[in-house]
Each structure stands twice: as C-alpha cells, then as structure tokens.
C-alpha cells in the first residue's frame, strides 16, 4: 500500500525508541544467576506478601484459590462445592482461623477449560498470593500436569476421578523430602476405587453379564473403564458397549442397538441431562433389565424425571459415609440450599485438611502446606473431626489425624483417599442407601502402591 513517508518515519522512530526504552527498563531485571538486582523488579509486584517467602510474622489473611466451573458444561455442580467451601471457611474462621489469621477464598471461573485454568492458576498463585489451590477438574489437571508441577503450589481438589491421578500426586510418603513430591492431592475417591466397589457389588448380586452405554467425555469413559476392568477381573463379562454423544435429542437408536445383546444389567455413564433423556427413552421403549447408574446419576432430578420405571436401579456413590459426614451435613444445610452432590463433602474436607496443615506447619507457605498434608491426615495422632478440634489438639502439642466427611481422608503416598462406597437404590421416588461396600473391601481391589 502507498505510504506517507513522514508518518512512516515518525512511527518507525516511535517504535524504535519505545523498544530501546523497554530494553533499558528491563535490563534492570537481567543478570547472571543469583537474586542480584532483581530487587526493583521484585518490589513492583510484591504487594501481597502475606505468608510468602520467609514470612516470619504471621499474616493477617490467608487465601485459598478456587478455580471454579462457574460457566461451562459442569456449572450446575459448582453451587454445592461453593457452598461447602464457604461453609468450611466460615467454620475455620469461627474457630479462630489458621494461625489466628482470617481465611479467605479467591474464586475464579475456568469454565472447565484447560487454557483458562492455566491462566487462572497462574493468576491465583502470582497475583492473589494463594497458599493452596482448592479445586481443578481432571480435564484441567491432566493436560496441565507439567505446568502444575512447576507452579509448586499444593492442589487439594475434590473433583477429579481420573485414573491418571492414581499414581501421580501426593508426597510419596516422604513429607520431609520434597524432591519427589507431586503437589496434587484429592479428597474425592478416585474412579478406579469406587467403580471397583460398584462392580464387586454387581457381581455379588448375580449380575454376570453387562451392557454399557456411556458418553465420550473423559469422566464418563474413565468411570466405565474402571468399572469394566474390576468387573471382568471378578468374572463378569461385557456383552455390548455403545458410546454416544452428549446433548442428543434422542438416544433411541443407541438403546436399540444396546438391547439387541443379551445381558443382566446395563451400566449408564452420562452427564445428568443426557442421562435423563436416555433413561426416559429407555423407559418409553420398555426395554427393562437392571439399570446400574454412575454416581452422578443417583440424584433426585433423575428420579423425578424418569419416574417409577427407575425403581430398583442402583448406583454406587463414594463420599457419603465418611466418619464425620453428619457434622458436615449439619453445618452445610444451614449455609444454604444447594444440593449435596458427590463432590460436596470432599470440598469441605479439602478446606479442613489444608487449614489444619497450615496450623501444624506454623506458616502459610505452599511448601509448608505440602509437607504437612500427609502428617495431619494419617498416622497415629488424635482423631479430629473438624478444624476446631484439630487446632485445639495441635495447641496441646498432640499429633492429629483428620477424619473427614466424605472419607477418613488418609492420604496415600500418591495423595489419594479410600472411602466406603454406598449403594443407593431408587425406591418410592427417591434414592435411599440400601447397602455399602466397606473401604477395606474396596481396598482389596487396588494393588498396593498403585493408588
């Protein structure tokens, strides 16, 4: 394009000068090794020094970061987690707060998108100065694994069931030695474990052949893979498996294909809305046979919409029979009316155990928390049910072992937890717990060191 020479020159000059100026400015931040003269650079950004490097004095506020699914596909699950987190934070503050400081939560939306999650995590750690991250989904953790390791901030999350995390995370049983630590802890029972419980129960009930219908998202697939491997290991066989897309207007074709095969029971693993469509189609089609539901589907909405055809269907849910579930439920129900889902009690646990780690450590730095999550959650200490009890016990110089609402929260070397799996059956218009598979039985399905 034709250009005006004078504008060209002055623009060129501007860019050159700006560039040179920029380089001069940055040169203060460039050096050979060491901390050197990055000092002026550091002071610009270092406004929030709460509990950061070398904080000798206890800070006034400690912040936890919560990447949340405020928009996006799973946003209907967030209210329960937000409520549980806020209730736990209130409880912690009412008991005096970790290190007598006030605990706060910085909640930011990631829409369950790993790119957004990366930006949010950086922002939480670098700008909001959080001591720990309470949140993140499997679909965010898995592709960002290397990034999270570099971030070196404990991630205590109630969400991910993914088998990817079975052998990743935690402190590898060596709290003192941080060189082998992998920073990610989860307070929710992994898919491998609770699907094993479910599969074991299915075999016990005499359901030897299985049909499967599942969605293509990771959570759904991972659930089915876990279930099927435990199921087949115990003598069951899968007759047919159909994968479907989410949000379809009708699942009749998929169901019709599935039910051509012969099986005693069929497993459905779909997100709630698609599952309701599929189960309604199943009910209309009169296909019958025993439905087994994934844990997210044992909710009231499913029964309300599908109706009485669903009677007798069951699903296995972890995380409702922790030792201190009732304590949690009482406090939670006073804090609002969001539904309790499978991830709500683990969110409570995540806040409690992290606050206790700070209390034990005596400082609110990421490294200190990472080193103390193991010791406050397992071992021979006094069993405590809440932060308040734990704070008191620690003040008395005792070791503690936090027993949670979802599970006993005894972190394994890989930062995972075991819990009892409740079997909930649809009866008379609601899901009621009819049986359970104990944590000890469930543990048998998982090889030592593999979880």
């Amino acid at each position: 394009m034709s250009s005006d020479n004078t504008t060209q020159t002055s623009r060129r000059a501007f860019v050159t000068l700006a560039g040179a100026g920029g380089i001069a400015g940055l040169s203060g931040c460039v050096g050979f090794g060491g901390n050197g003269d990055g000092g002026d650079g550091g002071s610009n950004g270092g406004d929030g020094t709460d509990g950061e490097t070398g904080g000798n004095d206890t800070p006034d506020t400690i912040t936890f970061g919560q990447p949340a699914s405020l928009s996006g596909q799973w946003d209907f699950l967030q209210p329960g987690i937000s409520q549980a987190t806020d209730a736990a934070v209130n409880h912690v503050n009412e008991a005096g707060g970790p290190l007598d400081a006030e605990l706060e939560v910085a909640r930011r939306d990631t829409a369950v998108d790993p790119q957004e999650a990366r930006t949010v995590a950086t922002q939480l750690v670098e700008n909001d100065d959080v001591a720990a991250i309470i949140g993140l989904f499997s679909s965010e953790i898995n592709p960002l694994w290397d990034f999270l390791q570099d971030l070196s901030t404990p991630v205590v999350t109630p969400w991910p069931g993914s088998t990817f995390l079975d052998t990743r995370g935690g402190d590898k049983g060596t709290p003192e030695d941080m060189s082998d630590d992998e920073w990610v802890w989860r307070t929710v029972v992994g898919d491998t474990v609770h699907t094993s419980g479910s599969a074991a129960f299915a075999i016990e009930e005499g359901l030897d052949t299985l049909g499967v219908i599942n969605g293509t998202t990771e959570g759904e697939r991972s659930y089915v893979d876990g279930f099927v491997s435990a199921y087949e290991a115990n003598g069951g066989s899968v007759a047919e498996r159909v994968e479907v897309e989410l949000g379809a207007s009708s699942y009749q074709s998929a169901l019709s294909r599935l039910f051509e095969a012969d099986f005693d029971a069929f497993l459905m693993s779909l997100p709630q809305e698609s599952a309701i469509t599929a189960l309604s189609d199943w009910s209309d089609g009169g296909y019958g046979r025993q439905p087994i539901l994934s844990d997210t589907l044992t909710s009231q909405a499913v029964i309300d919409q599908v109706g009485s055809d669903l009677n007798g269907a069951w699903g296995a849910t972890p995380g409702q029979s922790g030792p201190n579930y009732d304590t949690f439920e009482e406090i939670y129900s006073e804090a609002g009316d969001a539904d309790i889902n499978a991830w709500t009690p683990p969110a409570w646990d995540a806040v409690q155990v992290t606050a206790l780690a700070i209390e034990r450590a005596g400082e609110a730095t990421p490294e200190a928390i990472q080193q103390n999550l193991g010791p406050v959650s397992s071992g021979e200490g006094t069993e405590v049910s809440t932060f308040a009890e734990g704070k008191e016990a620690l003040a008395n110089g005792e070791a503690i072992n936090y027993q949670g609402a979802a599970t006993p929260v005894n972190f394994t070397q890989h930062g995972n937890v075991f819990g009892t799996v409740s079997i909930n059956t649809a009866q008379d218009g609601e899901f009621t717990q009819t049986s359970e598979v104990s944590a000890a039985d469930v543990r048998e399905f998982v090889e030592e060191g593999q979880y």
Binding site: N44, E126, F147
Partner: protein
C-alpha cells in the same frame, strides 16, 4: 545518516530483524547462565503474552486467507489442532493415553506443519469454488469432524485426556521459572515476527496483489487469465500451515495436548481479533488480537472490583464479547486500523 535511517523498513524487513533478534535473545537466555527477573505479579501477563504470540500466528494465517483472499475459514482451530496433535504424537514419550512415538522434536514440529497443510489442502479442495459462506460451513463442519475424531479414537489420540509427555525444549534447558517464561515469550514471539515478515513480503509482492484482486472480484481476476483456484488454494494452505506451526509450538510449550485447548472459542477469538483490528493489515490484526485478549485478561482482574458475583461476571464477559463482534461489523466493518475502501466495505 542517523541510525534510524539505516534501520530497514520495507516489506517487513524490520519485522524480520526484530524477529531474529528476539529468537537470538531468547536463545541466549535458554543456553547461557543469563537470567531474567520477572516480578511474580506479571507472570499472568507473560503467560497470556505467550498465548498471544501463538494465536498471533493463527491470526496471520487467517488474515492471509480472509483479509487478502476473501476465504471465510471458520474452522481455523482445526489446523491448529492438527499441527499440535501431529507434533505431540510424534514426539511424546510415555504418554498416558494415545500414541507417542518419541522422535526428536524438530522433526515432529516439521511433520505437524506439513500435516496441517495437507489437511488444509484437503478441506479447500472440497469447496474452494463455492461462495464465501459455503466455505464457512464446510470449514466449520471439518473442524467438528476433526474434533469428533480426536475425541473418539481414544487409542490413537488419547480421547479427552489427550497426549501427554510432549517434550518441552525450552523448559528442559532452563530451570529457573522467570527466565523460562521470558525465554519462551522471546523465542515464540520472534518466530511470530519472522512469520509477519514473511507474510508481509508475500502480500506486498505482485502475488499479494492477485490475492486482493480475487477478494475484490474473482470473476474479473479470472477474466485476466489468473487461475484463481490455484491462488486461493495456495493462500488457504499457507494459512493452514501457519496454524499448524502455531499448534506445534503450542504442544512444545505446554508439554501436552488435549481437545479442551482446541475449541471453537479459539476460532471466534481469532476472528474477532482480526475484524476488530482491520483485516488485510497484518500489524492491525495482531493489534486487534492483542486488544481482544487483553480485554479478557483485564476483565479477570476487574472481577475484584465489580460488585457482581463471579458466575454472573463470567456470563457478562461472554455477552460483551458477542456484542463486540456485532458492533464491529455494524459500525466499523473495516476494523480500527483497516482501510474501508480497500476492503470494499465503505458505504
């Protein structure tokens, strides 16, 4: 003669110079003990900056396709994904799901670019002869099909988990977090500047004039004897190759690829950036992309000062993005820096 007069300015030579400098400086950070200090509050900005220069390659490619040749490509993220997955699958070691072959990363990067170009060739072959909005549909459909394939063939592409364990060359050389961020930004930024130089070269040459003639009126261009299909196909394939390069660089930066990184959001962001800045003006489209990504970033911080709850805020942000697109088309279709007459949108 002042120093300023001696700095080259024609045809993107300045960009080439700047680009090579950036890559060299970035390389210096990577291989020598030279270290940078970065205040931690700025990490977020540098990370978004790295994403910006990667998306910058995307927008440059799209500008070549739409701004210069008038091809409406609404599946641009597909080429980004192909480049990324190609590079990832060839170079990943010990991936949790899917295939990882463990070849050296320069080879993988090259393969990623070529793969994206080939897919671009395939897609363009189907509809390069059709009207603008038909091409939009076909490219959109192609992107959806590719997304479906990546998600469904779990054994090959890793499903929703994706391909993990991709080598990260810069991270491997530099262990200090500050320096690593700065080095990555400089190296990838430098590559984008070199690409800018290359694109500027192509489009200010007579080749570029033919492309713009095709955009303005294809029939006339054909009547003077130019094989418009060839030119259009070439422009499309170059744009796809650039997107593939962006994808490969992304894979090598992030160390993993997953379908969640390649959604239609990427296409929409790049389109809005291009239209906002002014299509057919390379620096303008980069500026437009910077504005739209900057807005997103600033709005995150704005959350702290707005009185609404964060889930309301998240929806409002997206509503604003949609309305920006509508407003740009309505009130300033040439974009902020574009030339209305040149683009044929003056009324």
């Amino acid at each position: 003669m002042s120093v300023l007069d001696r700095v080259p300015t024609e045809n993107g030579d300045l960009a080439l110079l700047a680009g090579v400098c950036c890559v060299l400086i970035g390389g210096l950070f990577a291989v020598t003990p030279l270290r940078a200090q970065l205040p931690s509050a700025l990490y977020v900005f540098v990370e978004v900056g790295i994403l910006f220069v990667i998306y910058g390659l995307l927008v440059l490619g799209l500008d070549l396709q739409y701004g210069h040749t008038g091809l409406v490509n609404f599946g641009h993220v597909a080429f980004f994904a192909v480049g990324a997955y190609g590079t990832a699958m060839l170079s990943a070691q010990d991936t949790f799901a899917g295939i990882g072959l463990g070849y050296p990363w320069p080879l993988a990067l090259g393969v990623g670019v070529v793969a994206a170009a080939l897919v671009g060739l395939g897609v363009s072959a189907t509809s390069i002869r059709l009207r603008g909005d038909f091409l939009a549909i076909v490219t959109l459909a192609a992107a959806e099909i590719l997304h479906s394939i990546f998600v469904n063939f779990e054994g090959i592409f890793g499903g929703n988990v994706g391909i993990l364990g991709v080598p990260r060359p810069i991270a491997a050389l530099v262990s200090d977090a500050d320096t690593r961020l700065v080095a990555t930004l400089l190296v990838i930024g430098g590559i984008t500047l070199v690409a800018l130089a290359g694109i500027t070269r192509i489009t200010s040459a007579p080749y570029g004039r033919v492309l713009r003639a095709i955009r303005a009126d294809e029939l006339v261009t054909r009547s003077v004897g130019k094989s418009t299909v060839t030119y259009k196909t070439q422009a499309f394939v170059y744009g796809a190759a650039l997107a593939g390069l962006a994808g490969g660089l992304f894979a090598l930066y992030n160390g993993a690829v997953a379908p969640g990184f390649f959604t239609i959001q990427v296409t929409v962001t790049v389109w809005i950036g291009m239209l906002l800045g002014g299509a057919a003006n390379h620096r303008a489209v980069l500026a437009g992309l910077a504005i739209i990504m900057g807005l997103r970033l600033i709005s995150r911080f704005a959350l702290d000062v707005t009185p609404v709850s964060s889930d309301v805020f998240a929806s409002i942000r997206l509503i604003v993005v949609g309305l920006i697109l509508v407003a740009v088309i309505r009130y300033r279709p040439a974009g902020i820096w574009g030339d209305a007459q040149e683009l044929g949108v003056d009324r």
